[in-house]
């Protein structure tokens, strides 16, 4: 994907979540956002994913500017996938229904087509045995996997993942990260934010360090983790890598 963000600003009340943030990625399959909490990772992802609009600035993805008109944004969200930290699934539908419903109602597939695609997505992520369970009967890791299965059942142009493993224990984290890695190896364009530095290093083509609403540094992972240039990034990494 090719991504260009210019002077993007977003305020919540008096808080400047994004402060004239600029970012240019020529071509990258997996872009990972790291940085301190409250630094603007989530806000940036939300704007990139079409869930929020910036107060000012421009975002262009694959040469297409993201428009701010609600209908255009909805159309934009429809062709991408987005996953939050947790509670992505609709609790009153089974895993299967959670995946099939958007296929039918958003993408206009017939119930039979949607059922077949759902079956395929469930099988791909080894979720068939959980297909008819309600989200409350699934573990956090399984819920996230179903969430991802839903997001990619109809292959999205870009998959956005906002700290997909932050609410999970280490074992479940591993099972979700494995799945994300699989997707990236299969060629899926992904933009994700995470606190898992090892994972970021392994899966990313480009890593962006986001702090105080700006991009402090953008480099390939080996460079960013090996020899960070920005002092903020150095301090952040030395702190999170210590334990």
């Amino acid at each position: 994907m090719k991504l260009e963000v210019t002077e993007l600003t977003k305020c919540y009340g008096k808080t400047r979540a994004l402060d004239a943030l600029s970012l240019a990625v020529e071509s990258s399959r997996v872009l990972v956002l790291i940085g301190p909490s409250g630094g603007g990772k989530s806000t940036l992802l939300r704007v990139l994913g079409g869930l929020d609009v910036g107060d000012s600035g421009q975002v262009t993805i694959n040469r297409q500017p993201i428009l701010t008109d609600p209908n255009a944004l909805q159309a934009y969200r429809r062709k991408n996938g987005f996953l939050f930290q947790q509670f992505n699934l609709f609790p009153h539908y089974t895993a299967r229904r959670n995946i099939a419903l958007p296929l039918e109602k958003v993408h206009g597939f017939s119930p039979a087509e949607a059922a077949a695609m759902t079956e395929q997505a469930l099988a791909r992520f080894s979720l068939l045995e959980h297909a008819d369970k309600l989200p409350s009967q699934l573990s956090g890791g399984q819920q996230q996997r179903v969430g991802i299965a839903r997001a990619v059942a109809r292959p999205p142009e870009i998959l956005f993942l906002d700290e997909p493993t932050s609410a999970l224990d280490p074992e479940m984290t591993a099972e979700v990260l494995e799945l994300i890695q699989e997707l990236s190896e299969a060629g899926q364009d992904i933009i994700l934010s995470t606190h898992e530095m090892g994972f970021a290093r392994a899966v990313a083509n480009q890593v962006a360090f986001v702090a105080a609403g700006k991009i402090e540094e953008l480099s390939p992972p080996d460079e960013l983790f090996g020899s960070p240039k920005s002092p903020l990034c150095q301090r952040f990494l030395s702190r999170v890598m210590r334990y």
Binding site: Q74, R77, L83, Q86, F87, P102, K105, V106
Partner: protein, 258 residues
């Protein structure tokens, strides 16, 4: 239950049964020679017509109040401040004044002068239509607040996830918010519908020939007492109990799902 509790329970139960039977015996002893159930039987047609009318009013007002409830709920969630405030003020007014006042004022002052003739010309029962409308607005005001509470109780992440999968605003409500919100407010809604059935008896003040109205006229014509009031209470119970049971059943069914 401990042994003490069981004994206390039994004693209270016996006391209650005795008290109730004493009350009944006293009443029937007082009224016994005057109570003549054949009176009620003679008026069975009028009474049944009234009961049938109450059932019809309730069903129509149920639909009507659902409509107004949704209208008030969406009105209060409108992005336009003027709409929100108008809704708020109207709801506050409706909920803080008696239904009896709405009916009298709404019928005799507002709607009857406006529509009675037109409705009558078309062969429609103007009292019934206006009465049902006023009852629907009144119950709709409460329903609007119940629905708003339900919708607002759905966590933000559900709205976000629904938007993220690409649902349109209408689909967000249809597939994600309403199914969850309704489960939460179902008991309150059933309670409201029970109130609605009971409140329909107030339509007698504008002369709608519903169950209470017909019973009242039967009582005044035949000097009946118990013969009128007992069927009156039973008639309403037949309508309200199923609603109450349905709500308990639905509540139990949905409880483990969310």
């Amino acid at each position: 239950m401990s042994r003490h509790h069981r004994i206390a329970n039994a004693i209270v139960a016996i006391a209650l049964v005795l008290g109730f039977s004493w009350l009944c015996t006293m009443l029937f002893a007082l009224l016994g020679n005057q109570t003549d159930w054949s009176k009620a039987w003679n008026y069975r047609e009028t009474l049944f017509r009234g009961w049938w009318m109450t059932l019809r009013i309730s069903l129509m007002a149920l639909v009507g109040s659902t409509f107004f409830g949704l209208l008030f709920m969406f009105g209060q969630r409108s992005p336009l401040v003027v709409v929100r405030w108008t809704c708020r003020a109207f709801l506050e007014f409706v909920r803080d004044t008696p239904l009896l006042v709405h009916l009298l004022f709404g019928y005799f002052v507002i709607f009857a002068p406006l529509f009675s003739r037109t409705l009558g010309d078309q062969g429609l029962d103007d009292k019934l239509i206006i009465g049902v409308l006023l009852l629907s607005v009144f119950e709709g005001a409460y329903l609007g607040e119940i629905l708003r509470g339900g919708v607002e109780s759905i966590p933000k992440t559900q709205w976000e996830s629904a938007r993220a999968v690409g649902f349109s605003p209408i689909q967000v409500y249809r597939y994600v918010i309403f199914p969850q919100a309704l489960r939460r407010v179902l008991p309150a809604m059933a309670g409201l519908f029970v109130s609605l059935i009971k409140d329909s008896s107030l339509l007698n003040v504008i002369g709608v020939a519903e169950y209470f109205y017909n019973t009242k006229s039967f009582i005044s014509r035949s000097y009946a007492g118990l013969e009128g009031y007992v069927p009156l209470a039973l008639g309403y119970l037949i309508l309200t109990l199923p609603v109450a049971w349905l709500s308990h059943w639905l509540e139990k069914r949905f409880r483990h799902e969310t």
